[in-house]
Symmetry: C2
Subunit: 431 residues, 2 copies
Amino acid sequence: MDLKIPSTGQKRVVIIGGGFGGIEIAKILKDKEVQIVLLDKNNYHCFQPLLYQVATGGLEPGSIAYPLRKFMQEIPNGIFRMAEVRNIDVANQKVHTDIGDLQYDFLIIATGSTTNFFRFPKEVSSKMMQMKDIPQALNLRSYILENFEEALLTYDESKKEKLINIAIVGGGPTGVELAGALGEMRKNILPKDYPEIDFRKMQIHLFESADRLLGAMHPENSEKALKYVKNFGVSVWLNTMVTDYNGEEITTADGKVIKSETVIWTAGVKGNPVQGFSPETIVGGNRILVDEYCQVKNYPNIYAIGDVAAMLSEDYPRGHPMVAPVAIQQGELVAKNIVALLKNKTTKPFKYYDKGAMATVGRNKAVMESKGLKMGGFIAWLAWLFVHVTTLIGFRNKLTVTIGWLYNYITYDRTLRLIIRPFKNLDDDEA
Amino acid sequence: MDLKIPSTGQKRVVIIGGGFGGIEIAKILKDKEVQIVLLDKNNYHCFQPLLYQVATGGLEPGSIAYPLRKFMQEIPNGIFRMAEVRNIDVANQKVHTDIGDLQYDFLIIATGSTTNFFRFPKEVSSKMMQMKDIPQALNLRSYILENFEEALLTYDESKKEKLINIAIVGGGPTGVELAGALGEMRKNILPKDYPEIDFRKMQIHLFESADRLLGAMHPENSEKALKYVKNFGVSVWLNTMVTDYNGEEITTADGKVIKSETVIWTAGVKGNPVQGFSPETIVGGNRILVDEYCQVKNYPNIYAIGDVAAMLSEDYPRGHPMVAPVAIQQGELVAKNIVALLKNKTTKPFKYYDKGAMATVGRNKAVMESKGLKMGGFIAWLAWLFVHVTTLIGFRNKLTVTIGWLYNYITYDRTLRLIIRPFKNLDDDEA
């Protein structure tokens, strides 16, 4: 069945995914001679870099989510549909979705990435928590709080230890930021909420298989980040590969056994492509192979941008980093190239303008680097706050995040320690 | 199994329910010579009067929920346990919960109320939405938005009508406030979000079996409220009893048939008592019969307060109204009486100090009355805002609600139109 979308006689640009890349394209194609159709399985844009703050009770989900229909109000030549894409039919230039089929003239795949558990079988990975979307972040918030509630009930010290310990696998920005936030909570909040628990016994573990944290940043910043998280009392295990998890104990390649019922996997992401491409189009990291115009190799009129796209070059032999600026810049390029194509002008190849990288490690501490400049500590932390607030979409979100952070900073508190939808109970019911 | 709670040698006051009444007791017994144990099935206090704003995307759940553990930080002689009470064992002075048993010296039942569907069988009531807690309010938010998304997909005008129409049963404060908020959304927000839907065709129905809205208020205010909701385009059906609902059509006693897939039931609440009392203790409205000291008749050391308690008197032959001020005042009385009992002083009977009533009907419009004074319009609306913000618990909640309202007022917008946890899909999966 065809999706009910009126034709305007203009060329139709279908964008799959309302993330950073997808909405950038819509912004640039606004008022241009095309019909834009934006598809997303959610009705909101999610600001993923702050998911860990939702998981740790510092921010509300509504502060980092922005309604895509509100965004589309500014795009008069745009239409939004909440839809899950099943596959694409390249021969007939059609997208098949759970709500119907849709013809396209130009198709942009901006579907981002999902958690990559690599070699772990389902029975191991299903015992770990993820943090790639808002429901997962809320589940993690509920789960951690439910474990503390349960820890109060047991006389069994070994069981209690498993309930209050938290292990994070992966020392990239997400893992480091989450570890810092949890370290802060253990220091400033949890002992007041649970005076009956001895929080000196609570361990926060951070596992990283490489020899340093934040492998994408300069080694000096890795060192600083290591120092900061350690100061928050996090046990960092470098050169340590997690090889197994049974729901209670983590096993590492070098034979360590760590007890924890909470393991958060931040050690890998992979592209989240749509179905319908020939196998050779999907390359390493499950990403879609594109040329320097973000065009999918051998598929005219189809583009892929951001996390899901692999543009292999000398500078980036494994593709660009899976970060928001790449998605935004590729979105901008593709949108401008489509406009050029419609005017029979020449299109331009992509060149990534790397503004740098940053990561925060709890209160007053962050690391950043940009064009050879490296910085750590308080100034970097202020810069981190500024960049994240200004990148957020929507005035209300900027406002509520700023106020939330101010409140948290002044009071040393995070008041969103709410178990709105219990996670463990749900799990038990389903089992 | 006994719940792991250390004895302090003091008398133990167990409070079931962290609503308005329960937390009032804990506040007053703070630093007194008792051990307080607060039990609640959630780890947060919910400010129920603003649930309808969560359901309509105006406020975040975190703005009206307050962590009970944070509240208990101020009560050094208090302990909190997240627990669902199964029943009470009066003979042995024990509370049985899902996490273990607990001895009490004084027991206070402050378990509030639940939706009362009266004579409707489960197959009818299960098709209606409720709004008595945060998950229900979030489900309603998701459901309404999901229906609009679905309405875009159909060519069937009758189906579309059912999807976009909303019916509210019950013209009390909750029904009136919800109708006003929905009327505002239809006017200011929805046509921008869904330009493809003709919102002149969207009907908002409000059914009330009595001959006026806000039956607990003065008839003049009922008239004003009626005028206000009608101005927001709500179809009000007075003297109209809903007799059936099949998921698509509402039938009324006088033979009307109204099409809507969204029916929100706000027409009744009933007490939510715990199990373990003799049948004659539970009276009309499923409430626990108490004397003028809030003591449960024939059960020494057990008190019931707020919505769940029925204190029958000449002034209130069917018990006090199920509103927050009654719960707070009864909580205060019981706490003071317990202190008096411990000091062998005389206890005091309850006397309700009725401050009045108020209800808002959307932007700039409210009605209020207090001690013979009646008011409507803008001033009443400001008073409503002031009373609700000051009654909220926690500085951050007061702050975020104020800012949220300011934002909504200035922009005519509500930005929390988020389907974080789809409701219809969940439903379909379970079916």
